[in-house]
């Protein structure tokens, strides 16, 4: 029974490795995506396609960092509020909104970010707009994991700090957060692994770029965007597999890291 449930994952990984490993070399990590002509020539000569996905890697990195900077502090603060005020009226409203947000289709978040940022702020497709849509996706995940982590900390730890005359805000930031640190970290990494493969919201916001870009007001590429572009070009199909393998590898690694952290946690 368990074999049946894990077989899709194993089949996917086997397929990705068998089709994608050929293209993974140093060039893959240091060069930008090739154009159709270069690829065509290479295929005609029976060589592997030159070029790589470095513009996508840097773009993904840029947008994930930006999204994290926006979503992590806010998410943790809201998570603290929810765990400290479990049955208050406003806490319940915020908790419900966060749950709805978690279920929102990612393309809708892309449209929202398009309306807010692309049209009004950066006046064009930009990395900033992409990261805003990703941040909105991260937010409910971080709120949830923070709330759940803090709820698991025994109330006696908090009482111990309060009984030493420690002010409330210091109890939270110096006792509760450090105690739940591994849980918070696991939640953050899971949220990152969730957004790193998102394509739909980036199509409407970051658009894509054929060069390495670190200007947050300019269009930027990302690994999942490149996969979409490669797919649309028959000459670049081989790169679809290698980029997917790369992305899958990153997500797997993040998940293993989360498992490690969760295993080591002790309260």
């Amino acid at each position: 029974m368990s074999m049946i449930t894990i077989s899709p994952v194993i089949l996917i990984i086997i397929k990705l490795i068998s089709k994608g490993i050929r293209q993974i070399n140093l060039d893959f990590f240091v060069s930008v995506a090739p154009n159709t002509l270069e690829a065509m020539t290479a295929i005609a000569n029976g060589e592997i396609i030159p070029g790589g996905i470095v513009n996508g890697i840097t773009g993904s990195l840029l947008m994930v960092i930006l999204a994290s900077v926006m979503a992590i502090p806010l998410g943790i603060l809201v998570g603290i509020y929810l765990s400290e005020n479990q049955d208050k009226f406003y806490a319940n409203i915020i908790r419900n909104i966060s749950e709805i947000l978690q279920g929102a289709p990612s393309i809708v978040l892309g449209i929202i970010s398009y309306l807010w940022i692309v049209i009004n702020i950066t006046k064009g497709f930009s990395a900033y707009a992409g990261s805003v849509s990703l941040a909105i996706m991260m937010l409910p995940l971080i709120i949830k994991s923070t709330e759940e982590t803090l709820k698991m900390i025994p109330s006696t730890i908090k009482e111990a700090a309060m009984s030493l005359g420690v002010p409330y805000h210091k109890v939270i930031f110096k006792v509760l957060l450090p105690t739940g640190l591994s849980g918070l970290l696991a939640g953050i990494l899971l949220a990152i692994s969730r957004i790193i493969g998102e394509t739909a919201p980036l199509m409407l916001t970051a658009l894509g770029s054929s060069v390495i870009n670190f200007d947050i007001t300019k269009p930027t590429s990302a690994v999942p965007l490149l996969i979409w572009e490669f797919y649309n070009d028959p000459n670049l199909l081989d790169l679809v597999w290698s980029s997917s393998l790369f992305l899958m590898g990153i997500v797997l690694m993040l998940n293993i890291l989360v498992k490690r952290i969760a295993k080591n946690r002790r309260i």
């Binding site: 025994p154 006696t156 009482e159 111990a160 309060m162 030493l164 005359g165 002010p167």
Partner: protein, 260 residues
């Protein structure tokens, strides 16, 4: 109600007509007046839900952490009304020990002892810190067991050692009063005996108020005992007298195991 208050003047902590309610018209503590003597162990006994923990927590205003709490009456610490002292300052003067040992899991043994200073952001010299840590751990007879592992986490210790560490954490602040909420209920008999010996030793320097479920513990170590029932203070007196010759019938029934 038999108010048998022992000489309310000349006490370190004086409680006057204290009532505490969690819900409207439902009192967890009703009209309790009592004086607590310096350098003694005072035990608060009674069946579950009799308000003994609430009474204890009212002394360092920890009960205020519960929502919708309402407090009537006064508590004086050295003639000073505690409601006039900011709760943060008050709690620094009064240490508290809980049912389950609760050292901070992220901190070493050393940091746990000086956690009060560390968390409050009080800066002290390293030499002074070492001195406080050594003195506090010696006071709770834990120094010899942990002096070579001060920088290990406090949670590596056994339950009894953890509880003594928590006592050291409370002592490190130079508090004069220690409140204990069933401090041995989660410990085995040997660890319990060690804590009890420690309390008898500590009362030379500190005043201890001890909530306990365990009558024989109260009989063994306390100087004064209170018996509470349904929020009311039924009887208060010298432990020997209360156990051998209780005035109130309810107290007698409790002590002989008829209920509770």
């Amino acid at each position: 109600m038999n108010k048998n208050i022992i000489n309310i003047d000349n006490s370190l902590v004086t409680i006057k007509d204290l009532s505490v309610s969690y819900e409207k018209d439902k009192y967890a503590v009703k009209n309790v007046s009592v004086g607590i003597k310096k350098n003694s162990i005072t035990a608060i006994m009674g069946p579950s839900g009799c308000g003994k923990s609430t009474l204890l927590r009212a002394i360092n205003r920890m009960h205020e952490l519960y929502p919708n709490i309402k407090t009537l009456g006064k508590i004086y610490l050295n003639d000073e009304d505690i409601s006039a002292i900011p709760s943060i300052k008050l709690r620094r003067k009064i240490g508290m020990i809980f049912q389950r040992p609760n050292p901070f899991p992220t901190m070493s043994i050393y940091d746990n002892v000086i956690a009060g200073y560390k968390l409050n952001g009080t800066r002290i010299k390293k030499s002074k810190k070492d001195e406080i840590v050594e003195k506090s751990l010696k006071d709770v007879v834990l120094w010899d067991e942990v002096k070579n592992s001060l920088y290990k986490r406090g949670t590596f210790l056994s339950g009894g050692q953890q509880q003594r560490l928590c006592v050291a954490r409370a002592l490190a602040f130079q508090s004069e009063i220690i409140l204990m909420d069933e401090p041995t209920s989660a410990l085995d008999p040997i660890a319990t005996a060690k804590i009890e010996d420690l309390l008898v030793e500590l009362k030379k320097k500190y005043t201890i108020i001890l909530v306990t479920h365990n009558m024989s513990q109260a009989a063994r170590i306390s100087d004064y005992s209170m018996f509470m029932y349904l929020g009311e203070l039924i009887e208060y007196g010298k432990t020997k007298e209360l156990f051998t010759n209780p005035v109130n019938k309810k107290t007698e029934e409790y002590l002989t195991g008829k209920f509770g």
